[in-house]
Structures are given as C-alpha cells and as structure tokens.
C-alpha cells in the first residue's frame, strides 16, 4: 500500500468507521446514563436547583483554593493540557476546515507557528500528567489500564500532528495518514473510557449543582 492509498483510507473508509463508532458509542453511553433515571425528589427545596446547576457548570471550571494549595502543579498542568489541546484542535486552520466541511461552522484560526508551539506545550503537559500519575502512590493505585489507554490515545494525535507538520520520522503523506488514524483511534476509544467526559462533564456538573442548589448547600 502506498502512502497515498494509506492516506485515502484514513480520510475515507477509516474516518467513516471511526465517526460511526464514535457517535454510536457516545449516544449509547449518554442514553444509558439518562435512561437510568432518578426517583422523584418530593422534598420542598431550600434553594433553586436551576440556579445551582448553572452556577456549578461555571464554578467547577475554577480550582478550589484549598485543593489548589495542596496540588498546584497538577491543577495548572490540567489547565495547560486542556487549553493547549482545545486550541490545537479548534484553532488550527486545516482542522477548522474539517468542521466547516462537516458542520458548516467556521471561525478564525491561529497562525501555524503558534499552534505548533501549543502542540509542544500540550505534549509536555501530557508527559507531566503521566509522571504525576506514576509518582503519586494513591493515584497510581487508583489507575487502571483504561486510564493509561485514555492517556495514550490523547497523546498520539497531538504527537503525530506535530511530527507530520515538522516532517519528522516519516514522509509527510504517510505521517498525515498516521495522524488522521490516531484521531480515529481516539474517536473509537473515547466512548468506552473516561474520555466520555468531553460530553458528559456539563451533564454531571448540572446534576450535582442542581441537587446541591435544591437542598440549599454549596456544591
């Protein structure tokens, strides 16, 4: 198989399969959770559940002072990773072109040099995240294979994207194909690991916030 044929597979059949599994899996997981339902809460609330829900969606984005003081590096690294990853994903022009073609939505991007630098930062933050996980006895004890898999499939798209852009390791055509395939791997794995949080985080925050708001306690 030539590099061109490999790239065609990644852009064609491979992408179709990955997207199908991604959409199927994500909706399966969301509906699975939603259809579980909860017993109706008949208590008279002391506060507003809606207000609590909306507030928590925002406040959970910010660190709590006490937690931050205990583990500043982990929290800052979390921000660096998420901001870097989202910027590389959503503000790189060729990626925006993909969203434009598939969803009809487009927005301004960043110059390639900045994306490249953010990519490096994101890779380092992922390496640091792994180091922190491996050096903390508690976190290491709690980690399962699924956690390491989620880490790997998140790292690969950023790493291969960087290698492709900078013409490293493989010729560009082949590395671009590997990059797209790594994204497809992420799409296939995401619904069945903790990476579902990319969609469920809002739902979870809303639910927690609503419950706390209804009871009139801090969430």
């Amino acid at each position: 198989m030539t590099a061109d044929a490999f790239l065609s597979f990644a852009r064609g059949t491979g992408f179709d399969w990955a997207l199908t599994i991604f959409v199927f899996g994500m909706l399966l997981r969301l509906f699975e959770v939603l259809s579980l339902g909860r017993k109706p809460d008949l208590s008279e609330g002391r506060g507003s559940g809606v207000q609590g829900g909306l507030k928590t969606i925002v406040t959970r984005t910010l660190p709590r002072a006490a937690v931050f003081a205990r583990e500043p590096v982990r929290i800052i690294n979390g921000y660096v990773f998420h901001i870097g990853f989202l910027a590389v994903l959503f503000l790189y022009e060729p990626h925006i072109e993909l969203f434009d073609a598939k969803m009809g939505l487009s927005w301004p991007g960043l110059p390639t040099g900045i994306i490249n630098a953010l990519g490096v930062l994101t890779i380092f933050s992922l390496l640091l995240a792994l180091a922190l996980r491996l050096t903390s006895p508690v976190l290491k004890f709690l980690s399962t294979g699924s956690d390491y898999l989620a880490w790997l499939v998140t790292l690969l798209p950023v790493l291969t994207g960087y290698l492709a852009y900078n013409h490293m390791l493989l010729p560009y055509t082949a590395m671009l194909a590997v990059h797209i395939l790594s994204v497809e791997l992420l799409m296939v794995v995401a619904p069945f690991t903790k990476l579902t949080h990319m969609f469920s985080f809002m739902l979870a925050r809303w639910y927690q916030g609503y419950r706390a708001g209804h009871r009139g306690v801090e969430s």
Binding site: D4, F15, T20, F24, L34, K102, L176
Partner: protein, 363 residues
C-alpha cells in the same frame, strides 16, 4: 541529421556557443543535485555522446505528454539535446506511417538490441487480452513486452505510464496498468505528472547520456532530484499557510492577494514534483501561481483521492446517512441498556426479603 555526429559537433553546427553549452551543463548538474565538480564530466560526456536510439511507445494516453515535451520549448539547448537522440519510433511525430512505421521500430530494435532507450507514455489496458488499445493490429500489452525485452532502460513518461493515471481511475474499465505493473527485470524510471515537466525529461536524458545509467530514484521510481520535495514545501505561497492566511473562494480578497490555496483543495502538501521550482512554459508559471490549487497529478491514483476542491484535512466520503443511522442505533441501544438496568433494579427490589429483628438476632 548525420547519425554519427556527436552532440558537441551538432551543437556547434547549430550555433550554440561553448559558453552556452557549459551553462546548460552547469544548470543540469545543479538541477540534478550533482556537485559542481561533475560539470566538466557532464560536458565531456555530452560532447562526445553518440546518438542513442530511442523508441517511444504511446499507449492509452491523450498525447499531452508529447505536447508538453515537444511544444513547450522554443528551440533551446534542451531542445537540441532532445533532437540529438535518435527518435526511431514515435507514431505521433514520425513521418512514416502504417507498415513503414512498424518496420522502422523493428529495425531500430534489431540494430540496437540491448542498447536502446524505451520511452512509454500512456497506460496499458490488460483486460480482455488488451483489446482496448491496439497499434497496427498489435495490442499495447504485446508491443510493450516485445520492445521492453531488448531495451537498456525504460522511462515511463506521465502518470498514465508510471502509475496507470486517468485510465486506471475507478472503475478502470480497460484494466489499465502501468509499465512497472507489467515489466520486471529492467531499470524503469517514472517521470510522473499529467503532463510531466519538460525539463525533467531532458534532465533524465542528459543524465543517461552522461553516465549511461538512470539517476537515483525515490520509492515510487521517480528521479529524486526532481521529486524529492513536495510542492507545498517549495511553494512561494507557503508563508501565507504559516500565517493562517487562506483564500476561501476563487474570487475573494485572499485569492486576489495570492494567499494559500489549502482550503480550496490544494494537494501541494502530499504531492512531490518540481513544479514550484522548475515551473512551466520556460519557467514562467505553474498552477498555484495561476491561482488554482495543485491537484496532485504526479501521485499514483490522484483521480481517486477525493475531490480536487476538498481540503486535505477533510474526509473524502459524505458519511451523512451512516451517521444518522449510528446516532439512532446508539440512542436506541443506550435506552435499551437503561431499560434493562431499571428492570433488574425493579426485580431486585421485589426480590428483597423482609428481615425481622429475630432474623438479625439469629439463633
């Protein structure tokens, strides 16, 4: 043209100065990425080179390759080099026709057996015994096999001869194949492109005349000197790509300002050719300079690599229906799993046995 004339004699006869000739040798050396020390060697070799016999076979093609190589150059040193080879058979260009033309081919094959250079343009249909293209009643397939047998080397000109090209595009009704799909055991060089750049073929011929061998090839059998870099890497519009400045349509402000054509489907990043440096029409321009993205014509199966106007980062298929199906199936499966969970929950609740204080105290 006297057959025993050397190239040097012929060039002087045509009024080309020694300076002009050496300039050509130096250009060729730098073009082929050879060290400057090779210039005298090239000059000496070309000076004394005898006319090699060349048989040019045109198969399932559009004559664009021949047009490119013969008409895009005004009489230049390259043109003379091209004249200098003994083109013994080329049914588009030769004066003879019919049986006389075939006779010329057979004579050239016999007299220069094992030494002639075979140039092929066009793909070779293989389906149904190769009946889809014949010359003088001989199928392209049979003619290629016959002529290749006595060739010193084969140069596949154009993407059709190199990789099957347009005739090979899905669903390939004639079973079109490339030269290297059919012939093995001979040195084969691919000068891909639809059509290829004239300078590349003259460069390859100069190399062959000088060293008697074909130049270094890449993994797709193309001379590395010309196909070593992607169009994107040598494109004068590359800085706009880096800055994130793209033409969104063919007539917007970006297009007028000459910004990058990536979003309009330019395949420059995955296409390897010398267009951006050698250019066309005596180094005047190339497609991107004229405002149209690269369509990747020097790569295998470029017709089947998605839309010419779809950006490289965009998937080639429209997965709309599959996606809708997946969404519905996912939601249904999720709801089904949820219902099963609830049912189990209810069953478990009903199965709970009442525990009395006596049970707990036990006996």
């Amino acid at each position: 043209m006297k057959d025993d004339q050397t190239l040097g004699e012929r060039l002087r006869e045509s009024g080309i100065s020694r300076r002009g000739f050496l300039k050509f040798c130096a250009t060729t050396a730098s073009m082929m990425a050879l060290p400057p020390s090779m210039v005298p060697a090239i000059a000496a070799a070309l000076e004394t080179a005898r006319r090699p016999s060349v048989i040019w076979l045109s198969f399932q093609e559009c004559t664009g390759c021949t047009e490119s190589l013969t008409r895009s150059h005004a009489p230049t040193v390259e043109g003379l080099i091209f004249d200098h080879i003994s083109l013994d058979y080329h049914h588009t260009l030769q004066a003879a026709s019919g049986e006389a033309a075939e006779e010329a081919r057979r004579i050239a094959m016999e007299e220069n057996h094992g030494n002639y250079l075979l140039i092929v343009d066009g793909s070779i249909p293989q389906k149904d015994g190769g009946v889809y293209s014949t010359i003088a009643g001989i199928t392209n397939l049979a003619m290629l096999e016959e002529v290749a047998e006595g060739a010193a080397a084969i140069v596949a000109i154009g993407t059709c001869a190199a990789y099957g090209g347009l005739p090979h595009a899905n669903p390939n009704p004639t079973g079109a194949a490339s030269v290297s799909d059919i012939i093995s055991g001979k040195p084969i060089l691919n000068v891909s492109g639809c059509p290829p750049i004239p300078t590349v073929i003259t460069g390859v011929l100069a190399h062959y005349l000088t060293f008697g061998t074909l130049p270094e090839l890449d993994h797709l059998g193309r001379p590395k000197a010309f196909f070593g870099n992607s169009i994107h890497d040598r494109c004068y519009r590359r800085p706009f790509y880096e800055r994130g400045q793209f033409a969104e349509t063919f007539d917007d402000e970006g297009a007028r300002k000459g910004w990058c054509l990536f979003k309009l489907g330019c395949k420059g990043p995955t296409t390897y050719n010398a267009c951006a440096t050698e250019k066309w029409n005596q180094h005047t321009s190339f497609p991107i300079q004229a405002g149209h993205g690269c369509i990747g014509c020097s790569e295998p199966d470029f017709w089947d690599r998605g839309g010419f106007y779809d950006a490289l980062s965009v998937p080639t298929d429209d997965a709309g229906n599959i996606l809708l199906g997946a969404a519905v199936a996912g939601a249904a499966a999720g709801a089904a799993v949820g219902l099963m969970n609830r049912k189990k929950q209810n069953t478990d609740t009903r199965a709970h046995e009442k525990v009395t204080v006596d049970d707990l105290n036990g006996d």
